[in-house]
Amino acid sequence: MECTRIYSIHDHAVTFEFAEIISEAINIHVIALKAYTDRHPFKGFIESVPSYSSLTIYFNHTVTKDEVIQTISTYNNQLSTVTRHPTPDCKIIPVCYEMGEDLPSIADELDLTKEKIIDLHCSHTYRVYMIGFTPGFPYMGTLPSALHLPRKKTPALKIEPGSVAIAGNQTGIYPTASPGGWHIIGRTPIAIFDKKRNPSCFLEAGDHVRFEPIAKNEFDVLK
């Protein structure tokens, strides 16, 4: 896959962009390039950070930007010959939808019953496109179109850890207490981010995820 744009975000960080849209095929390529780069670290390489449709390479002053561009372009060309990507296992995330504080208001807004929203949210397999915003926050897509809603006009000041949320064509999980503008439809008892655990993130970019409804008493047991 060809880069559509290569640019610096820092003297020591170059971004390789493959599109300006959200696409599963492009994200698969980005994650594959990240994995390949991590397996073939070059002199001066620090780390690689994927997003929806781009990969950013951080490096130190022992290597020049032009050398990094050369290396990653070579990696990218080598990758193009590898077309098969195994489908990852699907991770199941239990969600207590009773704890979704915004469910009543968005049911009104979407003109759907709460049960229908839960059904729709659980009926799809989602891809983790990237981790960002706060440590461990997974950006997952694509949400069924019946559930698409703009973000809240005024972000909530404190969202509980484990809150499962939707916004636009995305769904996500708030790993830690933080402010946020997405609509909260449930809560998972799973620790999405735990600094003391290895790996600290329950999910990583490229994972496949399904949600499974649980009752409040099951949530309390699993918590």
Partner: protein, 307 residues
């Protein structure tokens, strides 16, 4: 050696020089805001250049030295006092056990650093220090030439000399960002001519600027992509935000500028209310500036190694 935090003041943290390798999990790099000042404090204590230090924002911090310690202060956020004695910055200090150090207003810069000979140990780097927290150094056998280890405060005869003004003036070099072209010509012109005030909504994550920049030609949404320290994002309201040490790893606002890495230390010393100006430079010049900054630190280090 160890130091206990009596009062944390506005914000006191224990910082290394950043933790890399976890940005793909959304974990920011963190680390000291002003790497130049923090490195100089370490050089004075003959520590590794990037050993952990205490970072203090403005004044109000109070520290108790529990055991005899060799320490050094750097930066411009406050003045250090032990009772009536001024503890000079940029000198090696011997502080006897039981001394209480108070950081008093100075009104020069924003951040001060305290390094302790032997480095520092504290649970998690980047933590905000609270009253009662204790920061330790493993090494006890420190002796420095020309400074007595007595029951009195000792102050080295020598002092690190460098041009303070280099870190205190507010002309900030910047390079065009990835979405520079999204701005119309007048906005592009405005950015490098008008002064911007650092807002009170500024912290270790980012500095918000009070003045708005209007003239975004492109109305499209940027899908979330990588950001890092020094990236200047233009928010929906039109206020630029300069990402600093605790920057998030991804963002969705247009990145109109990126600050020359060698000028981040100057920004770290800017307080809310300070007026800054952006000066356009090329990436090549920026890389040379970073190289010059590394050489300056090495030069200072060599001069101390001779003592």
């Amino acid at each position: 050696m160890s130091i206990t935090i009596v009062k944390p003041g506005i914000s006191t943290t224990v910082q290394d020089f950043g933790r890399w390798g976890n940005q793909s999990m959304g974990q920011s790099i963190g680390g000291v805001m002003d790497e130049v000042s923090a490195s100089i404090a370490n050089i004075i204590c003959k520590n590794d250049l990037h050993a952990p230090v205490i970072e203090m924002t403005l004044h109000g911090t109070e520290l108790l030295v529990n055991e005899d310690a060799f320490i050094a202060f750097s930066g411009f956020g406050a003045e250090a006092m032990a009772d009536e004695t001024i503890l000079p910055f940029y000198k090696l200090l011997f502080i006897p056990a039981g001394t209480v150090i108070r950081m008093k207003p100075k009104n020069k810069g924003c951040r001060s650093y305290l390094a302790m000979a032997g480095g520092m140990q504290f649970g998690e780097m980047g933590s905000t220090l609270q009253s009662g927290d204790r920061v330790k150094s493993e090494h006890r056998q420190y002796a420095f030439k020309g400074i007595e280890r007595t029951k009195q405060i000792g102050i080295s005869q020598w002092k690190i000399h460098f041009n303070e003004q280099d870190l205190l003036e507010h002309s900030i070099d910047a390079i065009r960002g990835p979405e520079w072209d999204w701005l119309d010509a007048s906005a592009q012109d405005e950015i490098f001519t008008k002064p911007f005030i650092v807002s009170t909504q500024s912290n270790r994550m980012g500095y918000r600027l009070n003045e708005k920049v209007r003239g975004l030609k492109e109305k499209k949404e940027l899908i979330s992509t990588a950001v890092t320290r020094g990236v200047v994002q233009l928010t929906h309201e039109g206020n630029p935000v300069i990402l600093m040490a605790d920057a998030q790893t991804t963002g969705g606002y247009p990145r109109i500028l990126r600050i020359a890495p060698a000028h981040i230390a100057k920004l770290a010393q800017c307080k809310p209310g300070d007026s800054i100006r952006f000066n356009q430079i090329t990436e090549d010049l920026s890389i040379l500036q970073s190289k010059a900054q590394r050489s300056l630190l090495n030069k200072i280090k060599s001069s101390i190694d001779l003592i």
